[in-house]
Amino acid sequence: MSTYILMKILESAPSRYDRGIGILTLGALDGSYDRMVSPIQQGDRVLDIGCGTGALTIRAARKGASLVGIDVNPGMLDIAKKRTEESGLGDRVTYREMGVAELGSEPDGGYDAIMSGLCFSELSEDELGFVLNEARRILRPGGRLLVADEMKPEGIIMRTLHLLVRIPLVVITYLLTQTTTRAVSGLPDKVREAGFVVTSVKHSRLGSFMELSAQNPSRQT
């Protein structure tokens, strides 16, 4: 039914995802995620889109927020749940097996903040447009959208450099985590198009990693 070698690698992915990502980002992701949750306050209602193994979710829960983490991968969610319980944050976090296209069931303005780490780069253009519109709908006026992800840098020289670095990285990413990502291009513009006000954009040195913070100006008209 299946060819063994490929399946074996794919099937063991969730348990190796974290280690894989850690190696790939040389630990830089931790600092980025710490910065990302800094605006989150005690009592905030926060949604983590593509929570994976809960790295970002748990950070936000530690700050006293109540969290909903969604992901489509039950294997990842199992690890996230286990970690959350071990950190004693079980009562503050709810995990749901749910994709970005299923956010329609969330009520308008129900969240103070929406975060997403390394998830947008796994989405298609269609999905990205959809999730940004939904994010705007379910964030309260003044609520924040916080994104950290792999981006296509601006400018032809940076793009070429990025491509050269990226090709081997794509191979390594696949070998370590069995996910392929498509670096997002023009995210700040897309976020603006969805009606957000972009408040800060921070690039990594090569311009290939971006931390973006945006605000929902008012209730959608």
Binding site: M1, T3, L6, M7, E127
Partner: protein
């Protein structure tokens, strides 16, 4: 003409690289001149699959949704948890199809049934899943028949063309690896090695129907390579006697090479076929069990079973599994039964609930039995 050449070349490329995933663009594709009542078909984003589906439905009017399966074919992706209802829902909600048609019926490949929960799709989106045929070539007839399948449209087969594809899929990467290893070491060995790899691979897969019955016997996965190697050794001895004259070093060298090739090819021979369960997964030891008390004879199981294991008795509102020996443990019936009347049972008697099968698919390597 140009299109046909491109199609053939792409087919060759994807057959040679069959063991690797290749993604293509997801989203909506218009076929012909669709209107608001045109059928909506959905498939995975393995590039070769999309090529073949598009070719099969050329000339029809409709919409094709390409959903994310991480570049893996429908069946493997569905069984491995890489093609689920989340991917289907995403295609339905984010592609814009809801604005283009008035109906809410989406035709899915039947082989997606082990991973895609039709009930969840209906509940979250209102779209009704219609299980289409196993093979894309049957789609036109299926549409003409008002979305009903003939019995043979449900079954997976392993015909000559597919066996040739599998032989190529194994022989090509093995040849490449052998060439890379032996080019610097022993150039003269490369050509005969590649010849042997292709010869054995083709022989094993093309003659599959001759010996497949024997593979069901206990210990076949050890016995089969040993017998095959024995035959090959006899052939080698014969060759030596009639041709260059008997030589022990030659026999040892090529005997060892053939053993390695045979071991690689038969490592998961049954798993390389669509008609047997992989010999390496624990799931091969599971059996599908039917709880007659819960069964209502609705026939969801026989609708999605690619091996025609089920018999449904509609008047008595019950089903049975008279052809259980053909089961490949794909789990489709368990996942789709709305009454939870089916489950897996291990040789030791442990039951694996439908809920667990739905959650983890066959994406387990034993994890289904182990709590995290």
């Amino acid at each position: 003409m140009m299109n046909t050449i491109t199609y053939v070349l792409l087919n060759v490329f994807y057959t040679v690289t069959r063991l690797l995933p290749f993604s293509c663009r997801t989203g909506l594709v218009r076929i012909g001149n669709p209107d608001r009542d045109s059928p909506v078909l959905l498939t995975c984003n393995y590039h070769l699959t999309v090529l073949r589906v598009k070719r099969a439905i050329k000339g029809l009017d409709g919409y094709l949704l390409v959903a994310k399966s991480r570049g893996i074919n429908v069946w493997c992706a569905a069984c491995g948890g890489h093609f689920t209802h989340h991917d289907v829902i995403s295609a339905l909600k984010t592609s814009g199809i809801e604005k283009l048609v008035d109906h809410r019926n989406v035709i899915l490949p039947q082989l997606a049934a082990p991973g895609v929960e039709s009930v969840v799709i209906k509940k979250k989106t209102g779209w009704r899943v219609v299980w289409g045929p196993v093979y894309a070539r049957d789609i036109p007839a299926f549409l003409e028949n008002k979305l009903t399948k003939k019995d043979d449209m449900r079954k997976v087969l392993f015909p000559l063309a597919d066996r040739f594809e599998m032989a190529t899929a194994w022989a090509a990467p093995m040849s490449l690896i052998a060439a890379l290893i032996f080019l610097p070491l022993w150039r003269g060995a490369v050509a005969p090695l590649i010849f042997t790899i292709w010869g054995l691979s083709l022989a094993i897969f093309l003659s599959f129907p001759l010996y497949e019955r024997l593979l069901k016997r206990q210990g076949a996965h050890v016995g089969f390579p040993v017998i095959l190697w024995g035959l090959v050794l006899l052939g080698l001895v014969g060759y030596l006697i009639y041709w260059p004259g008997f030589s022990w070093p030659f026999l040892l060298r090529w005997g060892a090479a053939c053993l390695i090739i045979i071991l690689v090819l038969t490592l998961d021979l049954t798993g390389s076929t669509p008609t047997f369960k992989s010999g390496l997964h624990d799931e091969r030891l599971l059996a599908v069990e039917l709880d007659k008390k819960l069964c209502k004879g609705a026939g969801f199981c026989s609708e999605v079973c690619p091996r025609d294991c089920f018999a449904v008795d509609k008047p008595h509102k019950t089903a049975s599994i008279p052809r259980a020996e053909f089961c490949v443990r794909c789990g489709a019936c368990i996942v789709q039964c709305p009454f939870d009347a089916l489950c897996f049972k291990s040789a030791a008697g442990d039951k694996i609930s439908p809920e667990t099968v739905r959650r983890y698919k066959l994406n387990l390597m034993g994890k289904r039995n182990v709590s995290l």
